[in-house]
Symmetry: C2
Subunit: 393 residues, 2 copies
């Protein structure tokens, strides 16, 4: 069975706002092989990933991503890894390629799972998909009162855990951040699991992050996420020596296995957060999950888009029973909800799992998608290299 | 003075071959501020970098690169760093952004240098542009005889040093590679400096690289470059423990300061190779040069395109007297030669320097460029986000 087609669909909300909400657009991926179809999603910058799929070759190690995928055999799990290795070698100098490959890799797992009648987590070698504790992932409110209200709402929805991030946090005074943190804790109640995401706001400024540790400890935050940019291993490590019970979390910016490995080895993390839509797909995410488990670091998904992406990001650690925290976006834009017919919801115990259905277990909703489709065309010389494909095949 | 315009020009040879020659296309960058103009170049994948310049915003940390550049004040060196930091923050989730920023940063240094009447290396704080020993950078021949001929030709052109890379090297047997290495040494003569570039061919396979060390030592190669992919710190380090007098070189794949820092700190390198057209421009390259010098690692430019890129990549270490090796591409495609009126050539001593003229000291050749201009258009919805700009302003 050979890969016959890769179709990228650029979806977006009618208006994209200047806020830290990654569900405002999406790049949906469809891969066809014979009679089989798989769906995936690339995180961030749809137009750029489209360009990297179809761009003209620059030289032997800078080829468009599709050059290493179209026409390849896809009969087994090994084929998925082989195709990924091809992309990484043939697109070595094409920086965007890892993000682009991610959605294709996810679609290949979905396709193969559906063909073999198995959920992806089983193909990955797990025997069971264990329950995860979802945390509601939201932005800080513009004021502590707004944050308090968000936290109370989250608790009333039955979530035991919540993560607050971005918004005004870290941008003004320590006192302002402390007020935000206390509001979040108050709203979550004493038993709630409180996670905090600084969104790389301090870049590499260890002192700025340290100044917030007192309040983070006081409100018993379980983790502080991304105080610094992904590569700032030394800064992470320096902060980890003072963060006590507040674990450091990071890694969503990693776009290959090695970057995640360096975070695990050198950054003093307690939690490594991997976005399957960026790091090279489910294949590389599973490699990181294995490595993290071996090193005693807890693996957590990073997901801020659709339930298709959520299923993809749950698969790599579905079978790791003790890695229970799961990012579960709860403020998705209508686009991200409309993308799929299937939705992953907390069960009666408030827990979520990677689906048991074949592949990713998520059916896209073509009619739901249609209103958000962004008509796009890329022409180089006299050739149209990309034009938004038809949703119906 | 504010940045009024950023123009990207996609240039390509009429036919781009499937070989490891990065001079087959180029992305030329022009930045205008008031009456001033600066020129730069981004390495690799022109279409993808164009898309990342102009793409619609995905969210607050995934904006098009131009959103952080257009309209910014550019009056001092500090402004260049400030603009780079803006791009890295506002385009955090846009993977391609570092490559795109690189050409803009280079153009900003050129613009500011010309405005202030100073060469870039002086603006970087150096008092002198020291001579460098250029190595002719070529691909291995298809056969040892072809490599022998290439080496003899290089010597006859007056080069004391040469680097052979890519082509068949590493792809078949150890014996085949040994024959190639001996041919290169024979052609270079006993006194010539011989450098070898494996082009990441062994990915992370330490044993495959180790198997070539005997011959590399026998032919007295000064360095073995990129046996593995950039992030494979552990594998580099493991190999360095066996490589003896053959120094390891790497780093061209780094697209931010931290990646280069990790290579310097953890990979057992003797030489760190930085492409100013990828790592974020001259600003970040200079940071790496400072860091390398402090750690006793030799800085080397990575350049495989035009003399504009060559000048940009010489500036960051122009004033480091003891860092003398310089990559000097000698098999440039006509496009890369035609791009500039100024050419950097070895002097009577066979040495090259970063130019003393203001800015990068390289004048582009608009008439030379014109035949290679690739007409390109990107449309999203009803908006044309990019159309090849006019060369004449």
């Amino acid at each position: 069975m050979k890969i016959d087609a890769i179709d990228f669909f650029y979806l977006a909300m009618p208006e994209v706002l200047d806020i830290g909400d990654g569900s405002q657009d999406a790049l949906l991926v469809r891969v066809n092989a014979g009679d089989h179809v798989g769906w995936g999603e690339c995180e961030a910058a749809p137009l750029v990933s489209i360009a990297s799929l179809v761009c003209p070759m620059s030289h032997s190690a800078c080829k468009p991503v599709q050059a290493s995928v179209l026409g390849q055999a896809i009969d087994s799990v090994d084929d998925i890894r082989r195709i990924g290795n091809l992309v990484r070698a043939n697109s070595l100098d094409l920086l965007q390629a890892d993000h682009t490959l991610s959605g294709i890799d996810i679609a290949l797992w979905d396709l193969l799972g559906k063909r073999l009648g198995e959920p992806v987590w089983k193909l990955l070698g797990y025997r069971k998909s264990y329950p995860k504790t979802p945390y509601a992932s939201v932005l800080f409110g513009d004021t502590p009162d707004a944050t308090l209200l968000k936290a109370k709402t989250i608790r009333s929805q039955g979530f035991r855990a919540a993560k607050f991030g971005w918004g005004p946090f870290g941008l003004s005074t320590v006192a302002a951040d402390e007020a935000q943190l206390r509001a979040a804790r108050e709203g979550m109640g004493g038993e709630g699991i409180l996670l905090v995401d600084a969104g790389t706001v301090w870049h590499t400024d260890v002192d700025a992050a340290k100044a917030r540790l007192r309040a983070l400890k006081e409100v018993q935050a379980t983790w502080l996420e991304e105080p610094f940019v992904s590569g700032a291993l030394g800064e992470y490590h320096a902060l980890s020596e003072h963060s006590g019970a507040v674990g450091l979390a990071g890694g969503e910016g990693c776009h290959n296995f090695h970057m995640a490995q360096h975070m695990i080895d050198h950054a003093g993390l307690k939690y490594v957060q991997i976005d399957a839509g960026r790091i090279g797909g489910i294949t590389i995410s599973k490699d990181v999950a294995d490595y993290a488990a071996a090193k005693g670091i807890t693996y957590v998904n990073h997901t801020f888009t659709s339930n298709l992406a959520l299923s993809a990001s749950l698969q790599p650690y579905a079978g790791l029973e003790s890695h229970v925290i799961c990012e579960f976006p709860t403020e998705l834009k209508p686009l991200a909800v409309a993308m799929t017919k299937t939705h992953i919801k907390p069960d009666a115990n408030g827990e979520v799992r990677a689906p048991d259905a074949p592949g990713l277990g998520i059916e896209p909703d073509l009619n739901g998608i249609r209103p958000y489709l962004v008509d796009t065309e890329i022409r180089v010389g006299s050739k149209v290299l990309y034009r938004t494909p038809q949703l119906a095949r």
